[in-house]
Symmetry: C2
Subunit: 296 residues, 2 copies
């Protein structure tokens, strides 16, 4: 398969869905809605909704009826970036090569843009129209999976640990926990959501969960690597910022070479988790390689 | 009925439920969980969960099976207070007579405490155990009602408008919209949630919605009044801060006397909305008076 054109096609599918699902900027609330759409439209790779889509397709279903759910995943990811970039957090001025949300809308505006996107994700997940394509029981399970993944014991907790980690020396175990919560949990939940939508068997669900856990880990390891070896231009954000901030990272613990090997092994493990899936899972296999090979 | 003891009894019910439903502070995430519980335990009046409870009881049902949903409403309210108090927003140091969240946990900690509470609310709302006491269809409707009420066209949007309103002159219409979104929406949704839990008829649902809209409005009018005529000690936050900040408020538009009359009329209208309910709705009637008479 030509994976590059697959990715660009699916990115198009997600971006069309976002254009349909998101609020239009008008009336008194124009600027608030604009602030949410600004970050959503700032050109992300749409990895999480594409993972959901690819999991659905790996199980022989089509994604079209479920696109609002893919959009919810992207809203959640975007909210997390907006809040992570805030002056009180990582204090980043650039994201995907563009000014971060608070550079345009101010701190208050950016906090609220994040709050709005997070809340809107749950509005999308509970849309009445979806009851004709997913059972209500399945949908509640999906909402539970996502809420747990991004809550105090998941993504938000991971970010809290990450902020604390800048103030003190952390162990390698804590670093792994930070990554599992902060990045891994939503990636795994995106794959699990696809599995639930396509009514995966328990065995399939567990295999896809294992796949999600591994690529989530690989994603963060590569992110750490890129911050060391990437350029600001490629990254669209400031290279070397982790070292400047004395941040706990995989390269800081293991060195660049060992970190690279670990990323490679983790991607292999992700593909092994898919061993019982046929070629409809090739996009998931390619996504694992893509995560390893990306430059930004 | 002795409404004072009713309130204190029901507050106890909600606080016991919070103690059961909330995460316990332990392990690596201890401080993050503590930061959420700090604000939850800072002694709120629990008006929103009690409104939900009172609506359920007005329709002849008991609240016990649904307590996690009451807790979700209180988590959402608490998240909104934490974010409203942030230096980038209203910059308040005191809330309910105690240091605000960011005074204890720092700005990053407070942003994440709010994010954690908001997300955890949806985890509570989608708890698998609740499927034995509410139909999944009803539950998805409740999640939709709440998500819409607190999203970009509801509470978050209202806060965005409120922040903008400090920078410019706003019309009386805009002031009303701010209040409807920022305070009214979650209050109405709390009553509607109770109505859904107790399987209200359409007519009952609409009456309770009207009641919720009116007390939501009354609540904000009285809040504005108290900021003018209350004392810092009674309020547990800085009195007179609205005028200092040149904030658009009801007293600023109408003067204190007319504002007081408006509050009174609105509370009456709330009670009229309940005309077809029997004495099981007395707590709701008393709650309307309580909102008018409160001093903090």
């Amino acid at each position: 398969m030509n994976f590059k054109s697959y990715l660009s096609e699916k990115r198009g599918v997600i971006e069309n869905a976002l254009a349909t699902c998101m609020l239009k900027s008008q009336g008194e609330l124009a600027r608030h809605i604009e602030s949410m759409n600004y970050s959503l439209e700032a050109g992300g790779k749409r990895v999480r909704p594409i993972l959901c889509l690819a999991a659905v397709e790996a199980l022989g279903e089509t994604i079209e009826p479920y696109l609002p759910i893919c959009c919810a995943l992207e809203c959640i990811h975007t909210y997390s970036l907006i809040h992570d970039d805030l002056p009180a957090m990582d204090d980043d001025n650039l994201r995907r090569g563009k000014p971060t949300n608070h550079m345009i809308y101010g701190e208050a505006g950016a906090i609220l843009a994040g709050d709005g996107l997070l809340t809107y994700a749950f509005e999308l997940l509970s849309k009445p129209e979806l009851s004709s394509v997913i059972s209500d029981a399945n949908r509640l399970q999906i909402i539970q999976i996502i809420a747990r993944a991004i809550g105090p014991l998941g993504m938000v907790g991971g970010q809290a640990l990450d902020i604390d980690a800048e103030k003190q020396k952390v162990s390698f175990e804590t670093l792994q926990m930070i990554h599992r919560c902060k990045t891994g949990a939503l990636i795994t939940a995106s794959v699990q959501t696809g599995a639930m939508l396509a009514r995966a068997s328990t065995e399939q669900f567990l295999s896809l969960t294992e796949y999600g856990n591994k690529i989530g880990l690989a994603f963060q390891i590569v992110d750490d690597l890129l911050n060391v070896v990437g350029t600001t231009e490629d990254l669209g954000k400031t290279a070397g910022s982790d070292a400047t901030r004395n941040k706990a990272t995989y390269p800081a613990f293991l060195g660049v070479e060992k970190t690279r090997n670990m990323a490679e092994d983790t991607v292999e493990a992700a593909k092994i988790a898919l061993k019982n899936f046929d070629d409809k899972a090739d996009p998931l296999r390619n996504l694992a390689d893509y995560i390893y090979n990306r430059t930004h």
